[in-house]
């Protein structure tokens, strides 16, 4: 099997990028973000990106970097607080935003990865999130049709990865990564630690290697904390 491992993010992205493409990105807030790949995406200069991501980063970090450089033209997200530049661009009509309830977003990405074109959910019935969507009654209850999401490229962050592409995530840095990893036929995983095949017990693999086309080392691993809250020593 040819190696999936690339020396760095720029090498892994080479030949894959085009203006107007759709990119799905894992992470929740700044937790479990593919930081290295996002910086490489910025440096590539690719434009008019349609980004699927639960959040939009913060000013100056994560997807906030791509907003500052005006490389994103459309986002599908559930929550974009904590980002003034995003809010400014959105209110000024410079960026197109589709708000999607967080569970619906996760399920739309999951469905896209699993070959399911759409599904019915009660989430969002009667709200702005239901506008323009088919509604159907099941057992007397209202549901709306939500369509699957797929991407030209998916970027995820993992804690450990082996040479077969099997991945393990760390704690709540898992979040959207195990679904985002499935929603494209070109997924790049950025991993904190490469381990030999077999080092991850087969029963403990979170994402099997079939979903991972390329892997890069997490050269940038800042792991910024958005809200540091501590208690005093007991």
């Amino acid at each position: 099997m040819a190696s999936k491992r690339y020396d760095n993010a720029a090498a892994a992205l080479d030949g894959l990028l085009f203006d107007g493409m759709t990119i799905a990105v894992g992470g929740f807030g700044l937790c479990g973000l593919p930081e290295t790949l996002i910086v490489a995406l910025r440096d590539s200069g690719v434009r008019d990106l349609k980004v699927i991501s639960n959040n939009a980063g913060v000013d100056g970090w994560g997807l906030g970097l791509l907003l500052e450089s005006r490389q994103i033209s459309r986002m599908v997200s559930s929550y974009v607080g904590e980002n003034k530049e995003f809010e400014r661009q959105h209110l000024a009509g410079e960026i197109d935003l589709e708000f999607c309830p967080q569970g619906t977003l996760a399920e739309r990405i999951r469905a896209g990865g699993a070959g399911i074109p759409g599904f019915y959910t009660r989430t969002g019935v009667g709200t702005l999130a239901a506008e323009g969507k088919e509604e159907r009654i099941f057992n007397g209850e209202r549901f709306i049709l939500e369509m699957a999401l797929t991407a030209d490229l998916a970027l995820v962050k993992a804690w450990r990865g082996d040479e077969r592409g099997n991945l393990v995530y760390n704690k709540t840095a898992r979040n959207f990564n195990p679904v985002v990893v499935t929603c494209s036929h070109m997924t790049i995983a950025e991993v904190e630690e490469f381990v030999p095949a077999g080092a991850i017990p087969a029963d403990h693999v979170h994402t099997p290697g079939v979903y991972v086309k390329r892997m890069v080392p997490a050269d940038i691993n800042e792991k910024r904390v958005e809200k540091l809250v501590t208690r005093s020593e007991d």
Binding site: C31, N54, S77, Y79, V80, F99, K171
Partner: protein
């Protein structure tokens, strides 16, 4: 007079039963975790993918890979599990949580609530709120009874874009607690805060409810 934020949270904590799986929203609902009555052991869910939330970390315990849905650093407990966002919301949307406690901007007399957007002013997104209110069998809302300018927040209909239709089961404000038997029933005033009369509660509400 009326209840303080902490007293509102304590009143909500008294509604939770031993063994329940509960999702707590950001703000006053977060206080509920530390105000549970003795003998009540609940498991907290955080929708970013954690079942079994522990207390905030000490300085030495801080782990950037371990946060709650409010993006605050947190700790795990014995028996905690981590899941993906899809799995986390399957728990919520599949009705496996026993209760959710969350804040709101408005609640209508039919249990409809609005808490995610103020058009032109606050445009942050719904996050997981729509999933939580439409998927959880017991929805407990905590909020101030009136807004800063005195406008009732417990209303005939919501004036803001809604989060869910007919989803609220229990409403606790700084003035009173309201409950309904089921989602076909109207709200009933079940308790007033100290030195608050039912007449005052009624005067400060735009909603119809049973006294």
């Amino acid at each position: 007079m009326g209840w303080t934020r902490k007293q509102i949270a304590a009143r909500a904590a008294a509604e939770l039963q031993d063994g329940w799986y509960v999702n707590l929203g950001i703000g006053i609902p977060t206080l509920v975790a530390s105000l549970l009555p003795p003998g009540i052991d609940i498991t907290l869910q955080s929708e970013n993918g954690m079942l079994g939330l522990g207390p905030y970390p000490t300085k030495d315990e801080v782990d950037p890979d371990l946060i709650n849905a409010g993006k605050e650093t947190i700790t795990e407990l014995l028996g905690t599990s981590y899941v993906s966002s899809a799995e986390s919301f399957a728990m919520v949307r599949g009705g496996h949580m026993d209760a959710t406690v969350l804040g709101s901007l408005e609640v209508a007399e039919d249990g409809t609530m609005a808490n995610w957007i103020v058009p032109g002013k606050m445009v942050k997104g719904m996050g997981g709120a729509m999933d939580l209110v439409s998927g959880t069998p017991r929805v407990i809302v905590l909020m101030d009874h009136v807004s800063k300018d005195g406008t009732p927040k417990f209303r005939k209909t919501c004036s803001l874009p809604i989060t869910g239709l007919n989803v609220v089961d229990t409403l606790i404000t700084d003035l009173a607690m309201f409950k309904r038997d089921n989602r076909q029933s109207p709200f009933r005033l079940v308790e007033c805060a100290p030195n608050v009369t039912p007449e005052e509660v009624q005067a400060k509400s735009d909603a119809h409810f049973l006294m």
